[in-house]
Symmetry: C2
Subunit: 217 residues, 2 copies
C-alpha cells in the first residue's frame, strides 16, 4: 500500500482504529463518487458518510484528491481480482462476449465504472490527475487485451484483429455504454447490443472467420 499513515509510531490498538477509519473513508469516497459525483465529493460529504470528522481526510490522505485516488485504487483492485477469473476461461469469441456482458451488467449494478468515469472526467481538467488516473486504467486495458488474445488464439481472425487495438476499443465501449446506460437509467439498449454481438461472435466462431462469399447479384 502506498499510504501507511503520516506518522510512524503508534500502538496496535491505534493502528487498528486508524486502519478502520481509513477503510471507512475509502468506502465512503467510493459511495460519494458514485452517488453525487466528483464535483460534490467533498471532504465533508465523505466524512459524513464515513461517520467521522472532516479533518481526518486531510490527516490520512493529505487532500480530498488523494483520498479519491485511493478509492479508485480500491475499486480497481477489487474488480480486477473478480474479473480475471471470469475472462481467463474465455477461449472463443462467443465466450468472450458472454463474459463481457456479465462484467458490464455487474459493473453497472455495483457502480464500479461510474467511479472510474468520474475520475477520468475530473482528470480532463487537471493534468496532474490525468497521469494518476491513466496509470490506474492500465490494468483494465491489459485485462481486456489478454482476454482478446486468449479468445482469438488459433483463430484466423487474430491476424486481422490485433489484441491491443481491440482491447482499447473494448475499454472505450464499456465506458461509453456505461455513460449512456446511467444517463438513460436503462441498460437494455446496451444489453441488447451484447446479445447481438454474441450472435455475430458465434457465427464467426463457427465459420472460422470472414469468408469470401461471392456476391449473389
Amino acid at each position: 500500500m502506498a499510504k501507511s499513515g503520516p506518522r510512524g509510531q503508534s500502538t496496535d490498538a491505534e493502528q487498528s482504529r486508524s486502519a478502520d477509519t481509513r477503510a471507512a473513508l475509502v468506502l465512503a469516497a467510493i459511495g460519494a463518487l458514485r452517488e453525487v459525483g466528483f464535483s460534490r465529493a467533498s471532504a465533508r460529504e465523505i466524512a459524513r458518510r464515513a461517520g467521522c470528522n472532516q479533518a481526518l481526510v486531510f490527516y490520512h490522505y493529505g487532500s480530498v484528491t488523494g483520498l479519491l485516488l485511493a478509492a479508485l485504487d480500491e475499486v480497481s483492485e477489487r474488480r480486477l481480482a473478480t474479473y480475471r477469473g471470469l475472462v481467463g476461461r474465455a477461449d472463443s469469441l462467443t465466450k468472450l462476449v458472454e463474459s463481457a456482458r456479465a462484467i458490464f451488467a455487474e459493473d453497472l449494478a455495483a457502480g464500479h465504472v461510474s467511479v472510474l468515469i468520474e475520475m477520468i472526467t475530473a482528470a480532463q481538467s487537471d493534468a496532474g490527475l490525468g497521469d494518476q488516473v491513466g496509470a490506474r486504467l492500465a490494468p483494465w486495458r491489459d485485462l481486456a487485451e489478454s482476454a482478446v488474445r486468449e479468445a482469438l488464439a488459433g483463430s484466423p481472425l487474430a491476424a486481422m484483429l490485433p489484441a491491443r487495438e481491440v482491447a482499447h476499443g473494448i475499454v472505450a465501449g464499456f465506458l461509453g455504454l456505461e455513460l449512456l446506460a446511467n444517463l438513460d437509467r436503462d441498460a437494455s439498449r446496451a444489453l441488447a447490443l451484447f446479445d447481438r454481438a454474441r450472435m455475430l461472435a458465434s457465427l464467426l466462431d463457427l465459420t472460422g472467420g470472414l469468408g469470401l462469399l461471392p456476391r449473389t447479384e
Copy 2:
C-alpha cells in the same frame, strides 16, 4: 430559441447588445466546459472569459446550469449541421467508417464531445439535469442511426445489424474513445482503430456480408 430574455421591452440597440452578451456567455461557457470542466465552470469563471459581469449569467439564464445547457444546445446544433452533410453521402460501410473517423478527429480537435461528456457526467448525480441532457443527445443518436441505415441499405448485413442498436453502440464508442483520447492526450490508438475498422468494412462491402467459409482444419 428557448430564451429571449427575462423582459419583453427593449430598444433595438439594447436587443443587439443583449444578444451579443448572450452569445459571448454561451461561447465562454463552451470554452469553460472544455478547458476546466463542469465542476469549475462557475458563473465567475464563465463571465471572466466572456469579459462581462458575473451577475449577467443569472440575469440571462437564471442559473449557471441553465447557461451550460444553452451551451450544449449550441454545440449540438453546430455539430449536427456540419455532420449531417458528411454522413448523408455514406452509401457503404467503408464510407461510413471514413466519415466516422473524420468526425471523430474533428470533434476531438474542436472539443465538441468534451462538452457533451462533461454534461453527461454532471447529469449522473442530478436527475433533473439527466432528462435535459438526454433530450439533447437524441439528435446525435438519430444521426448515427440514419447513417447506419443508409450505409447498410441493400446489404445482406442489414438483417443482422439493426440500425438502432448499432447506432447506440456507435454513440457509446465515440464517447468512450473521446474519453480515453483526452485522458491519454493521444488520439493515435483511436485513429488506428478507425483504420482497422475501415479495412474490415471494405472487406464486408466487397464480399457482401459474412460468408460461410468451411473450416480449413
